[in-house]
Symmetry: C2
Subunit: 213 residues, 2 copies
């Protein structure tokens, strides 16, 4: 699916997403486990700007704000951005692609991509990660949350998803791609399949850092 | 080293530990990352009693309390327990062994063992894990934090430690022992070696659960 098609597909689903996803995020301790850690690290590194890419209805952008982080949201879907603005009128949200962020080189203290690479085909992933690296300041953090795949060799496994074809990624192989993109692993959280009652997939968070100069 | 010797060794180190360890715990976001998640899960499961085994000067017991968890501390070292009581006079601390807890069968909502198996020889670990399983209520959580070993085959690697011979454990192999003891993995966090400036070891947290009846 092309980016415009994906945007249209998420526009059609936006209201339903905005009703369900924030509740699920807040009610599952493991699904938001890494956000306070990420926020603490950003604050300790000097309080810079953070992009929540693929922000959807903006619930995690708002959570980061309550944790003292100067975060803004970006999403491909104009409808999703309209809902995010309506729910959080004081925060900044913009329509955009995570492959072509408007941020200047080395300008961000952090990037959160919370299940945002779910529709990114494996072959395209290096483009996305290179863009993340471009906008991160030295010492900046990238937190990547994703459906995980625990097969032995493959980078990714496709699966059916309500909106569009989706991929789950091998944490080890994805960590390798992040390393190639210039980002160093800081920590990883892997959540067991039983915690995902819908699909029974493991979930993972990879926290990486652009090395300080 | 026997349990009485270990107790004596920690007694001698207690004041120094009480000065350093709580600060290090609070100042490192990754070193306390799993505690709020553990606390949320305990509260969501109904607010039962939690044992912080190997509690040292009681800083994590106290953190759990500020997060709304009814936690008490247990430590082999009477001197450490005296310092914990002095620092947190409203909380409960008791001298005891994590291999012979005073709690009744199936009476605890959770156990935290934060770097407490560091001196447990690999061959003895099943005894300790069986004791943890005994006191956990069905549905109860065990959170185990430890220095990690990423070698391919071994359960553990010994290393020198200020107080006594220590061990770092393979997360995979330790997860296997936990499974054998009747505890199901819920999530694991692995922290990269660079985050441990002293020794350069990875660190890990295994969160497991005794299945609900």
């Amino acid at each position: 699916m092309t980016a415009p098609d994906l945007s249209t597909a998420y526009d059609a689903m936006a209201t339903r997403y905005a009703e369900d996803i924030p509740d699920r995020y807040h009610s599952s301790p493991l699904n938001h486990a890494m956000i306070p850690v990420f926020a603490e690290l950003i604050r300790a590194a000097g309080d810079g700007l953070v992009a929540d890419v693929g922000c959807g209805p903006g619930h995690v952008t708002a959570h980061l704000h309550t944790l003292g982080v100067n975060a803004f949201g970006v999403d491909l879907s104009p409808e999703m951005i309209a809902l995010a603005r309506a729910a959080h009128p004081k925060l900044r949200f913009e329509v955009g692609s995570m492959d072509a962020l408007t941020a200047d080189d080395a300008s961000l203290a952090g990037i959160l991509a919370n299940y945002s690479i779910i529709h990114t085909p494996p072959g395209h992933l290096p483009v996305t990660l290179t863009e993340f690296h471009r906008v991160l300041a030295p010492g900046g953090y990238l937190l990547l949350g994703f459906q995980a795949y625990d097969g032995p060799d493959e980078l990714a496994e496709p699966f059916d998803h309500l909106v569009s074809l989706a991929y789950r990624y091998s944490p080890d192989r994805l960590a390798g791609l992040l390393h190639t993109a210039g980002l160093t692993e800081v920590a990883r959280l892997v959540i067991s399949p039983a915690e995902d009652p819908r699909r029974g997939f493991p979930q993972a968070y990879l926290l990486t850092r652009r090395p300080a100069n």
